[in-house]
């Protein structure tokens, strides 16, 4: 009898604990379900239909997906998104690391430098883009003016297919490198000073200290940063939409802009939903692959 009631009390207690855990999760779960899970489910449903301004028109099964896979633009724009990852991620990681190393040194006005490098990150994408559009203007832009002052030929930064991607990449580096720097800085401060002292005693030069202490010490942060930057740059939209409108031609038309055009400019919401889900799937595969790859290296 006694034993029974204790067990009962215990299970009640466990239930209460469960319930309170759920109660604590509700503030997260409700918005997550309403604003994330439900739109995805609805998007999946829409992707099986012809869906226009007026809503559902007719059921077409997997036709939308078949149509996308037959569309040359799908492959072209997907490649553009990956191309940006290839040129941007190494750039922002290297610059972020260099900046972090610089502002980690003891120097006057260190806090000022740190803040200045970080500042662009707080701007919104449209402001950043307009600043750089002005600077990269082929006629009277600052960049071409400076080049001209040195007797160098300018370029059509935003309308020349050879330069457009680099212009977008440089703009994005300027905008986001501060965030990368801050994370590296945090990583640098985790590395025990004793390691460097010991290396000094052993007579290691600065390159050797960097190669054998700093870099390995940052490997954890580095992995997170690459992971995050790959995902963020695959989702590139604002910069190309504002600065080049996907141009010249469709040179900088990324996958997300392709979805945007299909949905919001052409009113083909069913097709756009299918594109979004395919893109989501591709991102999941990449994320999983990255995750596997990184965990393996850690072992």
């Amino acid at each position: 009898m006694l034993h029974d009631s204790v067990a009962k009390r215990r299970s009640l207690k466990a239930l209460a604990a469960e319930l309170s855990a759920i109660a604590f999760l509700v503030p997260f779960l409700v918005p997550f379900l309403v604003f994330y899970v439900w739109p995805v489910v609805k998007g999946g449903w829409m992707s099986l239909h012809v869906w226009g301004v007026a809503g559902k028109q007719r059921f077409v099964g997997l036709d939308n997906y078949a149509k996308i896979l037959r569309d040359d633009n799908f492959y072209a724009n997907l490649w553009h998104s990956f191309y940006f990852v290839l040129i941007f991620v190494p750039l922002v990681i290297v610059f972020g690391l260099v900046l972090a190393l610089l502002v980690n040194r003891k120097m006057p006005m260190r806090a000022l430098f740190r803040s200045v490098y970080f500042l662009p990150y707080v701007l919104s994408v449209s402001i950043v883009c307009f600043i750089w559009m002005r600077m990269l203007d082929s006629g009277s832009g600052l960049v071409n003016s400076i080049l001209a002052a040195f007797g160098l030929p300018g370029a059509n930064w935003l309308t020349d297919p050879d330069w457009a991607w680099w212009s977008i990449a440089i703009t994005t580096v300027w905008w986001t490198v501060g965030f990368v720097m801050v994370l590296f800085l945090a990583g640098l401060q985790e590395i025990p000073v004793e390691f460097y002292e010991a290396a000094n005693i052993d007579g290691a030069n600065s390159y050797q200290r960097f190669r054998h202490i700093t870099l390995p010490g940052l490997s954890g942060v580095m992995r997170v940063q690459i992971f995050y930057q790959v995902i963020a740059s695959l989702k590139l939209f604002g910069q190309v939409h504002i600065m080049t409108q996907g141009g010249p031609g469709d040179t900088t038309n990324t996958f997300v802009r392709y979805i945007y055009l299909t949905g919001f400019k052409k009113d083909l919401f069913g097709l756009a939903s299918a594109q979004s889900l395919l893109f989501c799937l591709i991102m999941l595969i990449i994320t999983a692959a990255q995750y596997r790859f990184m965990n393996k290296r850690e072992d």
Binding site: V53, A111, S124, M133, T159, G249, F264, K266
Partner: protein
């Protein structure tokens, strides 16, 4: 500051920034703003005060001031209706209006371009206006016939057109004068009006004024200059019953080759991302600009500009045109529909006088024929040019078709495909859209 503390501060700052940005994002993506104004309007009505109607529009920049003035004047002119104007960002306007119409929550009256209303009409999301118009004492006979006709579907009016807008040939008189290419009447001395003649004119300009761009072309929105000359050549986007693409033909090819030739001969700058500004700054001699730029160019002290209808370079005087209209969503109750139509009536009869100053040709017959309007600079040419505009084909697929054409045109201009290939792609894409 200690390093640790500094890091903490930065992290807090980052977090604040991220939250701020997220806030902005959701603000501009959600329908929140529209929803709240509507509920505000509803509470006002139950108080049996004046009828409050919410009015969405997309007028920014120079024309926005004129649009605001009209709303203010209307509100001041009577006491039974209060119009609450909400200006939305023009790029996202139709995404928002579409969502509002589909969800049944949003404006009581809204601006829509004439070429955008077909899908909404087809979806039964817009109110037919003949009945509320009669109640509000508004007569479609007061509207220019071509405008009134443009909003008729199945014999019923679904909008109140407030204007027609299109492009004019703007020319910099000082530059043309310097090059000796201005006639005694102050018009460009175009000579032979043909593709070759026009190119010769530009070449002469270039020779006389080597630092000036002879003809600024709207490359970022290249479909506009393309439509203008393609319509001049007698071309159509679709066949007569809007079931097939009609764009892959010699006329389109000639127009495209004409523009590409101008770019190649440096008579126009393909790399200019703000050609309207180039012209406004006096760095280009000619420009096909919208009538809505009239107030801006004519108002600039340092700029001596004239405007004339687009010369019939490719034969006819047909050219691209569109029109702003006022629409009333189907979910709006009859009382507010009537109020909305009273506002529309005011826009046609009175507001047009102010609207005409912005540059658009007002749709009200009385306003356009008034001396007040005709005395505005170059408006007699505007009225002339308005007679030969060609509106977009009346199909609910127009958005998709127009977007496809825009994308392919960019690839043609920047030589990722040849004009021939590009027209083939357009034809295929348009036929795919129409078959769906």
């Amino acid at each position: 500051m200690k390093p640790g503390k500094w890091l903490q501060t930065t992290m807090v700052l980052t977090l604040a920034a991220v939250m701020l940005l997220a806030g902005c994002g959701s603000n501009s993506n959600e329908e929140g703003s529209g929803g709240t104004t509507t509920s505000a309007a509803e509470t006002a009505e139950t108080n049996s005060g004046p009828v409050e109607i919410t009015y969405w529009n997309l007028f920014g920049g120079g024309e926005g001031d004129f649009a605001d003035q009209i709303v203010k004047n209307f509100n001041d002119s009577q006491s039974e209706i209060v119009v609450k104007a909400l200006r939305l960002e023009s790029n996202e306007y139709y995404a928002k209006l579409g969502t509002a119409l589909a969800s049944g929550k949003g404006p009581d009256v809204a601006i829509a371009h004439v070429d955008k209303i077909a899908p909404f009409v087809k979806a039964n999301q817009l109110a037919a206006l003949d009945e509320p118009a009669a109640k509000a004492g508004f007569d479609y006979a007061d509207v220019t016939d071509s405008n009134a006709q443009s909003v008729v579907y199945d014999g019923k009016h679904y909008a109140v057109p407030i204007d027609t807008h299109f492009h004019m040939l703007y020319y910099n008189k000082d530059l043309l004068d310097k090059a000796g290419l201005l006639t005694a009447d102050g018009l460009p001395n175009l000579g032979d009006v043909s593709p070759e003649g026009f190119k010769n004119f530009l070449t002469e300009l270039k020779n006389k004024l080597p630092d000036i761009e002879p003809f600024a072309v709207n490359v970022p929105y290249f479909h506009e200059p393309f439509y203008n000359l393609y319509y001049e050549a007698g071309g159509d986007l679709l066949n007569a019953d809007n079931t097939q693409a009609a764009i892959n033909n010699d006329k389109a090819l000639q127009v495209l080759n004409f523009y590409l030739d101008l770019f190649d001969s440096k008579l126009s700058d393909v790399n200019d991302k703000t050609p309207w500004q180039t012209f406004h700054d006096g760095k280009a001699a000619l420009w096909f600009g919208g009538v809505w730029e009239a107030g801006w160019h004519f108002g600039e002290q340092n700029l001596n500009v004239g405007a004339m209808p687009l010369p019939p370079i490719f034969g006819s005087e047909q050219h691209w045109g569109s029109s702003h209209t006022l629409v009333v969503p189907a979910y709006v109750d009859p009382a507010k529909q009537e109020a909305a139509l009273k506002f529309a009536k005011y826009y046609i009869l009175e507001g047009g006088k102010i609207w005409g100053q912005a540059g658009h040709v007002p749709a009200g017959k009385a306003v356009v024929s008034s001396d007040e309007y005709k005395n505005l600079p170059y408006r007699k040419y505007f009225i002339e040019a308005q007679k030969t505009v060609k509106f977009a084909p009346k199909t609910d697929k127009y958005n998709a078709i127009d977007t496809s054409i825009q994308e392919v045109l960019q690839n043609i201009v920047f030589k990722k495909v040849t004009p021939q290939e590009g027209l083939g792609i357009m034809e295929k894409e348009i036929n795919d859209i129409l078959a769906n």
